[in-house]
């Protein structure tokens, strides 16, 4: 319990210290802020690893109460609690480790930024909220963490607030996540209505005793309560995990500093949706239709994001769409009840995607802030270490054996195959394979464009190209170790153990997997790599011709199938019009004009008019007195009995 609390609260201490330093604008104390946040994060990471070891190996669940929050009565009270089972422990370990790496990396990457203390404070604050989220024992506390990471994400995307695009992106992320939050709130309210509780263990306990529950919408229309709750939570998870439809904020979120992208928008926060699905898996098992929906959404996202990723120019956007696509894999795994696989992919993905982002950060750093891949090329000579690390990350991403991604992705694809064999559709499996092919393709497209060929940057930028300093390399190397070995090291553990003891009904079905199916993902990945290499190294001219020929199609795809444009036309414009109409005609024109402002104007006019009754002439005063008196006397004469 104390360990868990330490993991949770230590980052907050660091955040507060750095925040205070930033608030009082003590530039000279920046070093203190850096040191304190990194040390706190390091301690937290170490304790988290120890905690994870304890929880997973010793198979004990830490569950305790910190503070009373909303005491309603004896039976209904909401507390600040800690609940650490193996799921939470793994998440906590991943979050703290990646966060620690990103903290250290940031020291180099953000060097010289005048508000670095603020940056470190936000990073630590984010980590605190993320830990709060994964360790919470009830839905309300989870929701608080959920909102907290959203807030931190907003603050960090808009960290360079003098950039308009950063501000716009931060708001876009925040507002898009509102939709998800609405889902979360509905889900929590639904839980309260059905289970009379927000405590996750309690809900699990009660679920086994309940049969079915319904919400009556109208007299004739009822909806299964579990379905309703699960759809609500699914919407929440979709927004946080950038699934198709609510993914639009993620590419734009790349406006934030690259360490932020690595930590929040690749490794941790975006996986909160997947975490939610796993945490509430016992509920989803009662809503099979929603599970199907999860598979569909995951599949669409995986394919869609991979296709869009092919056409991106911006190095960070490629990786962002890749993240989106990988999250689609995790969703698919959840949808077919392979929660362990999803979690496994989450862990490995955290390592290699963080690595890729940090490497991309190094590239950008080397290119003096340039993010367009078309203006790069031939960098492998100048930044060999980063080159190697990108290779490692890409191999892991593409799912090449021995690298981390292989084990988890392969497992997911096998699960999808099993799903098809169990009577489900084969389409998810096919989409999974296609996406794997596309993943490999765009990864090597990135490598080819950035590191090979001729450099297209101007002279000044070229002269500045340099390898990142040690402080940025070491975290990447550590992450690379994770990207290589986490799969092979953990695969046995994930496939064998009953991960979350009793937390959900885990249906482990052994399928006979044909040999061809086992090899297929590797072949697909290798063919993707081969195609990319051949296209970008030998057939580049032909590619250019093709691109010109299908200029409009490629432009549409590049813009993410114009989802943003569609939203703008379908929702934002009408809403803006409606808002403007309501503001100008209803609020200003009607309510303000005849309401508060009108009343105020009326009063001041009345005041101006009434003052003229006070003529200053004694005669008028006497007349008013006598007239008033006459009125009173007349009334008395009339009413007196």
């Amino acid at each position: 319990m104390i360990m868990a609390a330490a993991v949770l609260w230590i980052p907050l201490i660091g955040s507060c210290v750095a925040g205070l330093i930033s608030f009082f604008n003590q530039r000279t104390m920046d070093d203190v802020a850096k040191l304190v946040t990194c040390m706190c994060m390091g301690v937290s990471a170490l304790v988290a690893l120890d905690l994870a070891y304890d929880v997973i190996i010793a198979k004990k669940i830490v569950h305790g109460e910190m503070l009373s929050w909303i005491p309603l009565d004896d039976h209904h009270k909401i507390t600040w609690g800690l609940y650490v089972d193996s799921l939470s422990a793994i998440m906590a370990a991943v979050v703290t480790c990646v966060s620690f790496m990103v903290h250290i990396y940031s020291l180099g990457y953000m060097k010289g930024d005048k508000s670095i203390a603020r940056f470190m404070s936000y990073l630590s604050l984010f980590t605190f909220f993320m830990l709060f989220l994964v360790m919470s024992d009830d839905l309300l506390q989870l929701f608080l963490g959920w909102e907290g990471v959203g807030l931190s994400s907003y603050l960090l995307i808009g960290f360079w607030f003098h950039k308009d695009s950063a501000n716009a992106a931060s708001m876009k992320a925040f507002i898009t996540n509102r939709i998800g939050d609405m889902g979360m709130v509905l889900g929590i309210v639904g839980c309260i209505a059905v289970f009379d509780s927000v405590s996750i263990p309690e809900i699990l306990l009660k679920l086994t005793t309940f049969d079915e529950a319904f919400f009556r919408l109208t007299d004739h229309l009822t909806i299964n309560a579990y379905t309703f709750i699960c759809i609500s939570f699914l919407i929440g998870a979709m927004a946080k995990s950038a699934q198709f439809g609510l993914h639009v904020w993620l590419p734009d979120a790349m406006e934030g500093p690259t360490p932020v992208s690595a930590l929040i928008h690749a490794a941790t926060m975006v996986t909160a949706g997947v975490f939610l699905l796993i945490r509430l898996s016992f509920l989803f098992e009662y809503a099979p239709s929603v599970k199907t929906a999860i598979v569909v959404i995951g599949a669409i996202t995986a394919l869609f994001a991979a296709v869009v990723g092919l056409f991106q120019k911006d190095i960070k956007r490629v990786i962002a769409y890749s993240t989106c696509s990988q999250l689609g894999y995790m969703f698919m795994a959840c949808g077919v009840s392979m929660y362990s696989a999803a979690l496994f992919h989450l862990v490995t993905h955290a390592f290699f995607k963080a690595l890729l982002f940090l490497s991309a950060g190094s590239v950008i750093h080397a290119m003096s802030g340039e993010q367009n891949m078309r203006k790069m090329g031939g960098l492998y000579k100048h930044i060999p270490v980063t080159y190697a690390l990108v290779w490692i990350g890409s191999l892991a991403l593409a799912g090449i054996p021995l690298f981390a991604g292989y084990y988890s992705k392969d497992w997911i694809l096998e699960s999808l195959y099993g799903y098809a064999m169990d009577g489900g559709s084969i389409i998810p499996y096919i989409i999974g394979l296609s996406s794997a092919f596309l993943t490999a393709f765009y990864s090597w497209r990135l490598i080819s464009l950035v590191f090979h060929g001729d450099c297209k940057a101007d002279e000044r930028v070229q002269s500045h190209i340099h390898e990142a300093p040690m402080i940025m390399l070491i975290p990447k190397v550590i992450l690379a170790v994770g990207a290589v070995f986490s799969g092979i090291a953990l695969v046995g553990f994930f496939t064998s153990s009953q991960l979350i003891s009793g937390a959900y009904v885990f249906t482990e079905i052994e399928h006979h997997i044909p040999g061809l199916i086992q090899v297929l993902p590797i072949m697909v990945a290798l063919s993707g790599i081969a195609l990319a290499v051949s296209v970008y190294h030998t057939q580049r001219n032909k590619l250019a011709i093709w691109l010109v020929r299908f200029k409009r199609a490629s432009a549409i795809i590049q813009s993410g199938f114009a989802v943003d444009e569609f939203y703008r036309k379908a929702f934002i414009k009408p809403l803006q019009w409606l808002g403007s109409f309501l503001y100008h005609h209803i609020e200003k024109g009607l309510i303000d004009r005849y309401g508060p402002n009108g009343f105020a104007l009326f009063i001041s006019r009345l005041s101006g008019a009434l003052r003229y009754l006070q003529t200053g002439n004694v005669r008028d005063y006497a007349i008013v007195m006598i007239a008033g008196l006459m009125g009173m006397l007349g009334y008395v004469v009339v009413v007196i009995k």
């Binding site: 002439n617 004694v618 005669r619 006497a622």
Partner: protein
């Protein structure tokens, strides 16, 4: 037979005359004071009539007090008048509208 009601009507007539006098003679403070005195007298008639009708001494006593207090009041009034005249050099209050609004 004359009863208090008739005296009452007389007093009301005098009172109304005095009140109208106040309203129409604002250009001369002396007249205003005269009218106020007239009102006192109208009320005095009332008191005496009621006291006489009810064989009650209180009304008479009140009248005596009323006269003396009215004298004091008119003395103060005249004092204010003198003060006002010294400041304004007129005894009309019809245009005394510095304080208004």
């Amino acid at each position: 037979m004359i009863d208090p009601f008739h005296i009452n009507i007389l007093s009301i007539l005098v009172f109304v005359i005095a009140a109208m006098g106040i309203l129409i003679s604002m250009n001369n403070l002396i007249k205003v004071f005269l009218c106020i005195e007239l009102m006192f007298l109208a009320v005095s008639i009332n008191f005496i009539a009621y006291a006489y009708a009810a064989h009650n001494i209180d009304g008479h006593v009140f009248t005596v007090f009323l006269l003396t207090v009215a004298a004091a009041e008119s003395a103060v009034g005249l004092g204010i008048l003198v003060f006002y005249f010294r400041r304004r050099s007129v005894i009309s209050v019809a245009d005394a509208t510095v304080l208004k609004g």
